[in-house]
């Protein structure tokens, strides 16, 4: 086991992927708790597709992918939030619309450039080779920023998630916190997308928190345990993908699924 790990860590690209992956797992899982409870999980899914579209365009323009994807996804996150506040427009159908359009734009753009399918495949399902050194640095900075902001705003985020009206009456500018949450989510998705792929990144947001909520009933515990679950699943998943040569993103999601089922069964047993 130790030998496998030391072998894995000796490859720079795997080491990079592990560092970024761990940070993204951490960010995605704690933000996921809020997103799931606020019923915003679909926004995460929509944003990852928008990320794909942005990546495609970046490929055509030959620019560093994160530099285009990051601002685009943040802007769309902001718009989605504004729209979901306005009940006259149905948020979920709009997300479906945006998802499909972004996918189409992305695929269209990539085919213009290369005509080869490997890029599409990497963007959709992730590639461990995707991280360049500048990506790595940007990812580390963003992830740490997400973590710090979440800790600083933890109490307010809890209050806004639990009861927005009460928080508002307490003088909290709830809109600001909703924006903070969606911007942080956008950043996390764009960074994680490279390894996990845009089709699989949203699972990193939804799975750990749902898993943890099967058993834990306290907000703080749920946040902490879903972070732990997420990190552990990531490490197991990436190790399996290294040993058996399976796709990294898919391996991680499958491990998350298995852990979810285990927790779910435990919760059923506990209830009886």
């Amino acid at each position: 086991m130790i030998q496998i790990f030391s072998e894995m860590f000796s490859y720079t690209f795997i080491l990079r992927a592990i560092i970024v992956g761990l940070l993204v797992s951490l960010c995605a899982s704690i933000l996921g708790v809020v997103l799931v409870l606020k019923r915003y999980s679909m926004i995460g899914d929509g944003l990852s597709h928008v990320g794909f579209g942005a990546l495609g365009i970046a490929t055509v323009l030959n620019v560093a992918p994160l530099k285009i994807a990051l601002p685009t996804v943040i802007i769309v996150a902001f718009l989605l939030l504004k729209i979901s506040e306005n009940s006259k427009i149905k948020g979920d159908s709009l997300i479906a619309l945006i998802s499909a359009s972004s996918l189409a734009i992305g695929i269209f753009a990539i085919s213009l450039k290369s005509g080869v399918n490997t890029d599409i495949n990497n963007f959709l399902f992730g590639s461990i080779l995707a991280m360049s050194k500048s990506d790595l640095i940007l990812s580390i900075i963003c992830s740490i920023l997400v973590l710090i902001l979440f800790i600083i705003f933890y109490n307010k985020i809890f209050a806004v998630t639990f009861d927005e009206n009460f928080a508002k009456a307490s003088g909290i500018k709830t809109n600001i916190y909703n924006i903070v949450i969606s911007v942080l989510t956008a950043v996390t998705i764009v960074i994680g997308m490279r390894i996990m792929g845009s089709l699989l990144i949203s699972s990193l947001i939804i799975f750990p928190s749902l898993t943890s909520m099967q058993i834990f009933k306290k907000f703080k515990f749920v946040v902490i345990t879903s972070a732990i679950i997420s990190v552990v699943c990531f490490m197991i998943g990436i190790t399996i993908s290294y040993i058996f040569g399976t796709p990294t993103g898919a391996s991680i999601v499958i491990i998350n699924l298995i852990v979810f089922i285990i927790f779910w069964i435990i919760s059923i047993i506990k209830r009886h």
Binding site: R39, F153, F158, S170, K217, K220
Partner: protein, 237 residues
């Protein structure tokens, strides 16, 4: 404590409450009654700052700030599986004392525990909110409102959906806080009978028939009785 002068609130261009003036004194127990859709909730939302006044003025006195009004919102179904302990929720009542600080102080935490003790629900401290009974949940919400303010609380239909025992239990507790601690209480309710038992004032919001009076004036006024029966009919629907 609160002076309301020619207040108008409503939705878009429609005024729900028109030209309402009243004076709320410290220690008052005001029941806000009236038919559905007359604007009871809108009125309390304006009080706690969730709704902007279209015209008129709400003036807070004695250094009372808008966010220092304890608010117990109308019962809405919190998601079944929301993971939150009673303590976490009650502590979030101290939210208005945080301002730019990220974390609750020791004083805030003591306040939360003290309030739990006061309402006899300290034993529920580590329980999950969504697993409690309706009556217990409302006590937790009351505790949260009390953490936000020990001067004035605003309750929006706190007993809707509760069984008779929990209802009278909650009413007694609120009345006790009003009499013992001098807490000012403003409560939206459908239950005129109970209002008469505990309240000092009654505010009937009903379009042009809106009036504000003390309980004894209310009982002696003939014109008001017809409004009262109207309110009764409303609860029966």
């Amino acid at each position: 404590m609160i002076e309301i002068d020619k207040l108008c609130v409503g939705y878009e261009n429609k005024k729900v409450i028109d030209n309402l003036s009243l004076n709320i004194k410290s220690g008052d127990y005001i029941c806000v009654v009236g038919p559905n859709g007359a604007g009871k909730s809108t009125f309390v939302k304006a009080l706690v700052g969730l709704k902007k006044e279209m015209s008129g003025k709400i003036t807070l006195k004695k250094n009372l700030k808008r966010n220092e009004i304890g608010y117990l919102p109308q019962i809405k179904k919190i998601q079944d599986n929301f993971p939150a302990s009673v303590y976490e929720i009650v502590l979030s009542g101290c939210l208005n004392k945080l301002s730019i600080k990220p974390f609750y102080s020791k004083k805030d935490k003591e306040k939360a525990i003290e309030t739990l003790k006061k309402l006899n629900i300290l034993n529920l401290k580590d329980k999950c909110y969504t697993e409690l009974s309706g009556g217990q949940q409302q006590k937790v919400m009351l505790a949260r409102a009390l953490c936000a303010s020990d001067k004035i609380i605003v309750l929006d239909e706190p007993v809707t959906g509760l069984d008779p025992t929990s209802t009278s239990d909650l009413y007694k507790k609120i009345s006790e806080l009003n009499k013992k601690d001098g807490l000012t209480v403003i409560m939206v309710t459908h239950d005129v009978e109970t209002s008469l038992e505990y309240a000092t004032h009654i505010l009937n919001i009903n379009g042009k028939n809106t009036f504000f009076s003390t309980i004894s004036d209310y009982l002696h006024n003939n014109t008001c009785e017809c409004v009262e029966s109207e309110a009764f009919n409303d609860t029966n629907i």
